[in-house]
């Protein structure tokens, strides 16, 4: 289990409104980066925003950026974490298990069994090594739970599984300062 490769995928809105950059980070089971890839910024025009409406972000996040990025990665991950619910649907386009991850709902922490009702899984550390997180699988891919849960559990004490998203965001900011194509 210690040789896992873990993917983190997210779509970031840059400092320019309605401009998005898709990013994927692959790390080892300790969060040490192995590969990073991102798209140039995608700016939706008025027509596109109008036509796509609420589907704009999912379309950009999944079809335009997500699937091509994941397919272009050299270090194929064993599973991919995403930090937004709409990105979970990327699972329908790829074969790699996708897991939605986020900070646990503090109100629900006192009744962990509530999590199971939502289809979410709570991961809390006995010694509060890291803050509790909740994970969720795509409902159409129940097998992902069985196939990846052991791996997720084996790494959840190595590092804060939500933290890499902050690194990716910071990296996009730095890229944007260096090159306008990422703004």
């Amino acid at each position: 289990m210690s040789k896992l490769k873990i993917g983190f995928y997210s779509l970031y809105e840059t400092e320019i409104q309605d401009s998005y950059v898709g990013t994927i980070l692959i790390t080892d089971s300790y969060g040490i980066p192995l590969e990073f890839k991102c798209t140039h910024s995608v700016k939706a025009t008025g027509i596109q925003k109008a036509l796509y409406g609420e589907r704009l972000k999912p379309y950009i996040g999944i079809e335009l950026c997500g699937v091509p990025l994941i397919k272009s990665i050299a270090n194929s991950p064993d599973f991919i974490f995403v930090d937004a619910e709409y990105l979970l649907s990327i699972r329908t386009k790829i074969t790699t298990p996708v897991i939605l991850i986020g900070k646990a709902d503090k109100e629900k922490l006192e009744t962990p069994e509530e999590y199971n009702k939502d289809g979410k899984i709570l991961i809390a550390h006995e010694y509060n090594t890291f803050e509790p997180v909740e994970i969720q699988y795509h409902p159409e891919f129940e097998k992902d739970n069985k196939n990846t849960f052991e791996g997720v559990f084996s790494i959840c004490t190595n590092f804060d599984l939500t933290e890499p998203f902050a690194r990716m965001k910071k990296s996009v900011e730095i890229l944007g300062k260096s090159d306008n194509k990422f703004k």
Binding site: L34, I47, P68, N75, L175
Partner: protein
């Protein structure tokens, strides 16, 4: 355009639709034409209306595959399936609702599919590693710790510098790849690393935990763009500076840094950066001027250079009179005599051709001979006391470079030297003492106090282990490198030419010769180890500390070094001194009132157990000991009862030499030290620690051929015709044939050789010691004391199941009785032939 098309546009809210010229087939109109026809304000309002009034429902885009309108900026074509429908005659279709689409389809019945397209974005990135980092398992090491209450030394298990079972961030940028492309994805690599931890305590990121006082120093650097870190030597100023750099790089606050240091410390900086910040690319600015020019222009996070190189690489710029440097760039008066107008050159224009705004004279700035960069995000000046004279070119060079953060590191106390202090501070911040009296010590100190932090070892004593050890890898000087390479090549050729006659003794002789060259060049007396030592001695002696320097080579290393370090008035403790002289020397060194003699040189033979030199708390090993017990013993001259300071022990080793090769092999065999090496002989014990293959392999040679083959003929021979080595080889081969794997050999100092061997059997693993003892005549007796000594060895190692002595002599009765009682098998005399007959197979 047909009336139907006009009708289509008329349904829009845009009056502009009417003003669009009727589009004929095979013609098109553009937005410019609209501009032409309409006054601009109308156009602007059109644009607003155009988008604001779009009445699109969520379901409009009922499937991304079913609507096709061109991308940007305005519609120029309609795509039908795979085919373009050109020149449909209008540049924009204002879509308000589904009816509009339907209208379009009615007008153009050939249209089957509409697809709203986005341009596919470019993807860029970098692969940082294809392999998983290896997990390294290191065992804690034992040291002797002084227990003042019990007043005796006891062995204590302490944590080694490396943690047990820890993941490792691999060094990303190797020296051999220094000219590889360095792009934005290298710039963000530090930001992609795991976080450093709240108190810089993430074990994944750091090779060892920081000491408790070090985070304070790091925070101090981060909070002060101009800062002087003045911790005493040995408290980790370099590490604190590196961690502060890691923070700034990882948060994206900086992208470049320059570290300027004395020559002797360049390799140390590079090694520490590789260890503490493997995610950063560090370039060493070494070599000739043009090579440095290439290096300065290569991409990197950190540029490492020495003061002398920086001075040379900014030589012309330094000479510009009244040059002012600030965040906006360089400011000076035009060099044209008739002009003298003020010129301001921002950093973005450096290394381009610029023009004086007054006389229009064009020139390249900085001058073409100057190669160094003039602007960094961070500038670190190590041992800044070297620039205490404001008039020297070296000091001026450090002031030509601008950096948002300027940090100085120095363990040398400067509070008592006001002028030096002022100069150093003004290098960090030019206007620190502006509008005040710089000769007033109190005012000066009050001004610079907030930018200075200094911790003494005594202050942080409780945070440190009793002894701090480290290896310092140094590059050979130019002349040393040449001599070393020539000697190694010549020596290796000589060994190869000797063929089968080569023994490990020959190889040891070559190793000794090369080790001497690693210490210094005997002709020029150049020595990178000496340069490093001098730097450190200057610092530690200025703090009032003293040092011991050990070497294996009194005549060829210590004696040539003595005059080169005369400013420290070194004492020399050697075997040629009588007892009285030794005692006098020790008393002199230990005398608290003696501030003149700051260092003592010793060879271990002479400086062995029994002498106390606790006046020193810095120990340097000028050459490598294969046996770690020796370095412990040496350090114990200072680290013993009576020592009330932390002892800092440094091993000086030469990179890319025989010292490195042997070190790397021995590192993998640390566990052997406890089992095998139990004596403190100064002689090289490599043959006990490395196999013959490994020793020969140090110079790319193959193990020598069998001296005596285990053959039908040889087994019938009289063993007295064999010499010691041949007999040992014969016995060794015999046991190998019996299925034993012989691990290593060790002299028994009673004329024999111990061989440690293992054999895997169905019942388990047999571990045995075999003593091979060849005697001159077959009736020579091997006495009880030999057997007793072997018995002692047997019982000191619980893994060993039994011992055997194989000799061509005979055993006395006492020896036989002792052996029977103690699991020792005796094979000698006539038994030897029987043993061979029984176990030898063709």
């Amino acid at each position: 355009m047909s009336s139907n098309k006009l009708s289509f546009f008329q349904r829009t809210k845009l009056n502009v639709a009417k003003s669009v010229a009727p589009v004929k087939e095979k013609s098109s109109s553009s937005l410019n034409q609209i501009d032409f026809y309409l006054p601009p304000p109308s156009y602007r309002s059109i644009k607003e209306i155009f988008f604001a009034d779009a009445n699109i429902s969520q379901n409009y885009c009922y499937s991304p595959d079913s609507i096709s309108i061109s991308n940007l900026p305005l519609l120029e074509e309609v795509i039908i399936g795979e085919n373009k429908l050109l020149n449909i005659g209008f540049d924009s279709i204002i879509i308000h609702d589904l009816d509009d689409i339907q209208e379009l389809i009615n007008l153009y019945p050939a249209i089957e599919n509409f697809v709203v397209k986005f341009r596919k974005p470019f993807m860029r990135g970098k692969i940082y590693s294809r392999e998983q980092p290896k997990e390294i398992v290191r065992k804690p090491r034992k040291i002797k710790e002084i227990n003042p209450e019990q007043e005796k030394e006891e062995e204590v298990l302490i944590e080694s510098e490396e943690d047990f079972d820890k993941p490792v961030i691999k060094q990303q940028y190797k020296d051999k790849n220094k000219f590889d492309t360095f792009d934005v994805f290298d710039l963000i690599f530090p930001a992609l690393q795991p976080p450093l931890g709240k108190n810089f305590d993430n074990p994944i990121v750091f090779p060892r935990p920081l000491l408790a006082f070090q985070p304070e120093g790091i925070e101090f650097l981060l909070d002060n763009p101009a800062a002087l870190l003045g911790d005493e030597m040995g408290l980790g100023k370099t590490i604190q500076a590196i961690v502060a750099l890691k923070v700034l790089f990882s948060t994206g606050k900086i992208t470049t840094c320059c570290v300027v240091c004395p020559k002797a410390l360049l390799t140390n900086w590079y090694n520490e950066l590789c260890r503490w910040a493997p995610e950063l690319k560090a370039l060493r600015l070494e070599g000739g001027p043009e090579y440095r020019r290439v290096l300065w222009s290569a991409g990197a996070h950190i540029y490492l250079c020495v003061y002398e190189s920086l001075q040379k690489d900014l030589e012309k710029t330094i000479e510009i009179k009244n040059l002012k440097v600030d965040k906006d760039g360089h400011h000076f008066k035009c060099l044209v005599e008739e002009c003298k107008g003020e010129i301001d050159i921002p950093f973005s224009r450096h290394y381009t051709e610029v023009e004086c705004p007054h006389c229009l004279n064009r020139f390249f700035y900085p001058y073409k001979d100057d190669r160094a960069r003039t602007h960094f995000d961070v500038l670190i000046l190590d041992e800044i006391q070297k620039t205490k004279n404001p008039k020297t070119k070296m000091t001026k060079a450090t002031r030509v470079v601008y950096a948002d953060y300027k940090w100085a590191l120095s363990g040398t106390p400067m509070e008592n030297k006001l002028k030096d202090l002022v100069t150093v501070c003004e290098t960090l911040e030019a206007e620190m003492f502006i509008d005040m009296n710089k000769t007033n010590a109190q005012e000066v100190i009050a001004r610079y106090k907030s930018k200075f932090i200094r911790r003494k070892k005594d202050d942080v004593l409780k945070d440190l282990a009793p002894i701090q050890s480290k290896y310092e890898w140094l590059e050979l000087s130019k002349s040393q490198r040449k001599k070393y390479d020539d000697a190694e090549a010549e020596g290796t050729d000589d060994l190869e030419n000797q063929g089968e006659k080569v023994t490990v003794t020959h190889i040891f002789a070559l190793i000794t010769k090369l080790k001497l060259l690693c210490n210094l060049d005997p002709e020029t007396l150049e020595s990178s180890k000496l340069d490093y030592l001098k730097e450190k001695l200057e610092e530690l002696t200025s703090q009032g500390d003293k040092a011991l320097v050990f070497s294996q080579f009194p005549k060829k290393t210590i004696e040539p070094l003595l005059p080169l370090l005369k400013e420290f008035s070194p004492l020399y403790y050697h075997g040629g001194l009588n007892l009285g002289q030794r005692e006098t020397l020790v008393r002199k060194f230990q005398d608290p009132a003696n501030v003149e003699n700051k260092i003592m040189f010793l060879s271990l033979k002479a400086g062995n157990s029994g002498i106390t030199l606790t006046r020193a708390n810095y120990v340097f090993h000028f050459d490598m000991w294969w046996n770690p017990s020796i370095s412990s013993q040496a350090a114990a001259r200072a680290h013993r009862i009576g020592q009330n300071k932390i002892v800092f022990e440094t091993m000086l080793l030469a990179e890319d030499t025989i010292e490195r090769r042997i070190f790397d092999i021995l590192e993998t065999k640390k566990s052997l030290f406890n089992v095998v090496v139990d004596d403190l002989s100064e002689e090289i014990n490599l043959d006990k620690l490395m196999s013959e293959e490994e020793i020969f392999g140090l110079f790319g040679l193959k193990k020598r051929r069998n001296v005596v083959a285990l053959t039908d003929e040889n087994i019938k021979k009289d063993f007295h015709t064999f010499d010691e080595t041949e007999f040992e080889k014969f016995v060794s081969d015999l046991f190998t044939q019996m299925g034993y794997h012989l691990n290593h050999h060790k002299k028994s100092y009673d004329g024999g050789v111990y061989m440690y061997a293992k054999r895997i059997r169905p019942s388990g693993i047999d571990e045995v010691i075999i003593q091979s003892m060849r005697v001159e005549q077959s009736n020579m007796i091997v006495k009880e004391d030999v057997v007793v000594k072997l018995g002692t060895l047997l019982y000191s190692n619980k893994k060993i199941a039994k011992a055997l002595i194989v000799t061509n002599g005979i055993f006395d009765a006492e020896a036989t009785i002792f052996a029977e009682k103690n699991k020792i098998e005796l094979i000698g005399g006539t038994q030897l032939q029987e043993f061979i007959q029984k176990n030898y197979s063709k």
